[in-house]
Amino acid sequence: MAKLPAPLSQIVDRFGPHTKGVPAGGWAPIGEPDRFVKTHCCFCGQQCGIQLKVKDNRVVGFEPWEDFPFNAGKLCPKGVKRYMQDEHPDRLRSPLERVEGEGFRPVSWDLALDRTAKEIRRIQERYGDDAFAVLTGASLTNEKAYLMGKFARVAVRTANIDYNGRLCMVSAAAASKKVFGIDRSANPWSDIPKAKAILVAGANVADCAPITTDYLWQARENGAKIIVLDPRMTPIARTVDLFIPVRPGGDIGIFNGMLHVMIERGWVDREFISEHTTGFEKVEESVRKYTPEYAGRIAGVPPAMIVKAAEIWGPAETSFLLHARGIEHHSKGVENCMAAINLVVATGRIGREGCGYAMITGQGNGQGAREQGQKCDQLPGGRDIENPDHRRFIAEVWGVPEESIPHKGLSAVPLLEAVHAGKIKGLLLICFNPMVSLPDQNFIREALEKLEYFAVIDFFLSETARFADVVLPGSLMEEDEGTTTSVEGRVIHHRKAVEPPAGAREDWRIVCDLAARLGAGVKFPYGSPREIFEELRTASKGGVSDYFGITWEKIDAQKGVFWPCPSLDHPGTPRLYEGARFGHPDGRAHFQAVEWRPAAEEPDAEYPVILTTGRVVSQYLSGTQTRRIAGLMAQEPEPFCEIHPNLAARYGIEPDGFVSVESRRGSTVVRARIVRTIRPDTVFVPYHWPLARAANNCTIRAIDPVSNIPEFKICAVRISAAPRPDDAIARLPPEAGGIA
C-alpha cells in the first residue's frame, strides 16, 4: 500500500519527531554511574571515542574518552548530546502495522515477521525474484552491513540491494579505486599536521567533520599553507592562506589549471611518475588547454587564484589532500576526485610521513559499510560481484552454489526509479531515510506510494517509515555490539551499553529471524554479532579490504586496527602505499585524464541561480536522530537559505524574511540568511529537514555514470521573497518540518 495511513499531523503527534531535552533520570546530579562504557559516537565517519555513563540500564550522560587516539576526548555537539537518544519518547517499542485511515497499530513480532516473509515470497512468485528490493545504510555496523548483503542475496535472493552510502562516499571510492586500486583514505589523520601544503577541496570540515579542524590547525601552527575550495567561506576557510570561492561544478577547472601551471613551472616529480605511475602523458596532454585564464572561466574565479594555488601546492616538501562531498556530489563526482588526486600523484607526495590524501567519510560507517557487500556491485571484502573467482570464494564461505548469487543489481536512485516504474513491487529498508535524503522528493514519494509491500526496520518512525506497511523496531548503537571502520580506515569496537527497551530487538536478530522465515535459517545461525564478525573476517580474507587478521581483542588492545590486516600476527596498515606500491596488479598508480563538462542542469534565464546543499554541525544526515534532541535543534531550529546581499537585493529578499527556492522539480520555503560569505550566484540550503522544508524537493536525480551518486551540489533554481507559510505543515513543530 505504502501511503500515509492517517493524516500527517496525527502521525507526527504520536511518533514525532519530538525533541527531548532532559536526560534519562533528569538533570539532577547523578553521582557515580554504575559504569562507564568506552564506545564511539553513533554519528559521522570520524567515529570519535566516547564514554557513556550508565546507571540502572539507562544512558544518563557522557564522559570524554581522552585516551582514544583519534579525538583524544574532543567531541562535536552531536557527540556530546548523542546520549539523549536513549529512552527517547519517540522510540518504537513494538512492531507496527498500518491500518488505513487510522495510522499504525502495535502487532506481535510473529505476525509482523510472518507477514513480511510471506509478502516477500508472494511478490517474488508473481513478479520475479528481483521485484523485491533491499535498501540499507552506511551507519550500520560492519557486522550488520555484511549480514544485509548476505540476507539480500541468500535469503531474499534479489540482485537489488543497495545502500545510502550511494549518497555519500561512492564517488571518492570509485576514483580512489581507479587511480590507486584501493578504496580507502591513504593516510591516518596523524599525517595531516606533518604536511607543509594542504588542499581542502569541497569539505566544510567545521560543520561536517569538526574534529578534523584540530588536525588542520595543528598543521597551520607547524607552518603549513592551506588552500580551501568552497563556494562558501566556511569557518575553516576564514583564516587559511588561500580561499578559492569556486563556482559549484567548476572544481576540475581549479585542479587541471593547477596541474597546468605545475607542469609549466617544473613542479611535477618526473622520476616518480615514470617509475610508479601510468597514464601521465594523457593527463599532460589534457591539461595543456587549462591555462589559468581558461580554468578560471570554468571555475568562476580570478586566474590569479589558480596560479597562487599551484605556487603553494607545487613546490611543497610534503602535502596532504582532503576532499569530501563538495566535489563528490556531482554528476561528474568521480572525475572531480580523480582530477584532485592527479595533483597528489604528479608530485609523488604519497605513502610517506606527512604526504598523502584522504576522503572524509560522512556517514558513521561510510568506509566499512561499503566493503562488506551491501553495495549492488560488491561482495564482502570489496570483491567484485561480476568476477567469477570472487563469486566462487564468497559462495564457498556462504555455503551456496556460485550461480545462486545474483549478479549486479540496481543502485539506490535507479532502484527507486524502478519502483516508480512499477518494476520493483516490494521493499525492505533499514537505516535509510529517502524521504529526506534522496533528490527530487516528490518523485521519491510517488515511488513509495506505488509499492505493494513496504517494510522498515528502524528505531524511530522516520519520514520514510511513515509509508511502511510494517515497521520492525530495531536497536540503537549502544544497545548492540559490533565494529565500524572510521574515516582513517581504523576498525573500531562499539560496545553494548544497555539492553534494547522491551518490544524492540537488535537489528541483526530481526534480520536472522526473517531469514529463518524465508527458509534460509541454516545460513544465518548466528548467536551474536561476534559470530557474524568471525564469518566476515573469513569472507574478507584475500580481498582488497582484508579484515582476516582483525579480532575484537586486537581492536581493544590497539584502540583500533587499520585494514588491510591479512593475518593474526599483522599489526594493521595505518598508511597505505608506503614505498610507492599501489593497489593495482602492476603496483603503479594509474593517472586518469579528466575533462571538465557542465553539470546536468546549469542555470538559465528561467532558473538563474545555483542551489547547493549541505549540512550544519548540529544535525546528522536526514536528521531523524538529531532532530529529536532539543539542544541540537536549538542550535539551528530550522533550515535557512544563505544568499549574498547582491543577489538578495536583486530579488528584494530581506534579512530573516522568507524565501522561496524553486526548481523544475519542486520548491522549499525557508528563512533567508543574507551573508557576504557565499558566492553571489549561488544559494545554500542545508538538507536535514523534511516536507516543505526539504532542500531535496529542489535537487535533481542526475547521477554520476560511474558511482551513481546524485548531483546534490548543483541544480538550477529561481528565488523570490515569500510570505511566512501558514499551512498545515508549517504549523508542525520545526523538528517535523514546521516553522518556529
Binding site: 557527540g79 567545521a206 569557518p235 580570478p302 540568511r673 560569505t677
Partner: protein
C-alpha cells in the same frame, strides 16, 4: 610538571557550540550552560568567539557584590554567587567587563562559569576545553602552548583606563602584549590585516 591552564584561541573557533552543549553536562550546574558563543556580525563573517569566565585576578564582580556572595578560591577561581548570600541585585552582571555572570530569576541567584571546579580541582580538564573539537579552548600547560602554537598567550586587558589581569589567557599575534578593547582585533587571521570576507569582493564583483 607545570600547572595546567586555560587558553582561548579565537582564530581556531569554528562556532560549533560543542562547548555550550558540554557545559550543561557539568555536575555542579547540570542542565544549564555557563559558556556563551558569540556570533560576530554573521552577515559579514563566520567568525565566532567562545566566552567563559576569565577569572580575573582581582574580580570586579566580587568587589561590587554588596552581599559578599562571590568568593575566589586560593587558586584564583572566582565562583558563582553563594546561594544563601546572593540577593539577586545583578551588580556583578552589570560590572563584569566580559559580560559573563548571569542572573537566574527562577532561583534568584547569579551563576557563571566556575572553571569546572568539580573537575579541575580533581585533576580533570574542564568539559568545554576537553571537547572543543578545534581546540580553540585548550586546557594545557603554558609550555605546550608555547611549543605547539604560533602567537603569544597573554592575559592583560585594558578596558579604557581599566586594567584587568585574568587567570585565562588568549592567544594573539606575536608581539602583542596587551589587549585594548575596541582597538585590537582578536582574530589571528592568516590573511593581510583588514582582508575582506565578502566573497563577491574576492571574486572582483562589486
Amino acid at each position: 610538571m607545570s600547572e595546567l591552564a586555560f587558553f582561548i584561541d579565537y582564530s581556531r573557533c569554528i562556532g560549533c557550540r560543542a562547548c555550550v552543549q558540554a557545559c550543561e553536562e557539568c555536575d555542579t550546574h547540570r542542565g544549564v550552560s555557563m559558556i556563551h558563543l558569540e556570533t560576530i556580525r554573521r552577515a559579514d563573517t563566520v567568525q565566532t568567539a567562545p566566552q567563559v569566565c576569565m577569572h580575573c585576578e582581582d574580580p570586579i564582580c566580587a568587589r561590587v557584590c554588596p552581599a559578599d556572595a562571590i568568593k575566589q578560591t586560593p587558586d584564583g577561581v572566582t565562583q558563582s554567587a553563594l546561594k544563601p548570600r546572593c540577593i539577586g541585585c545583578s551588580n556583578c552582571v552589570l560590572a563584569c567587563p566580559f559580560g559573563v555572570p548571569k542572573y537566574f530569576g527562577a532561583i534568584d541567584q547569579m551563576m557563571k562559569c566556575d572553571y569546572c571546579y568539580d573537575r579541575t580541582s580533581a585533576g580533570k580538564r574542564p568539559m568545554c576545553a576537553t571537547v572543543c573539537p578545534s581546540q580553540a579552548l585548550a586546557f594545557t600547560t603554558r609550555e605546550e602552548i608555547e611549543r605547539k602554537r604560533q602567537g603569544t598567550a597573554i592575559n592583560l586587558w585594558k578596558f579604557g583606563g581599566e586594567v584587568v589581569r585574568t587567570k585565562i589567557s588568549v592567544i594573539v599575534p606575536s608581539g602583542v602584549s596587551e589587549i585594548r578593547i575596541g582597538e585590537s582585533a582578536l582574530s589571528r587571521a592568516g590573511g593581510p590585516a583588514g582582508a575582506t570576507e565578502d566573497v563577491a569582493v574576492l571574486l572582483g564583483e562589486i
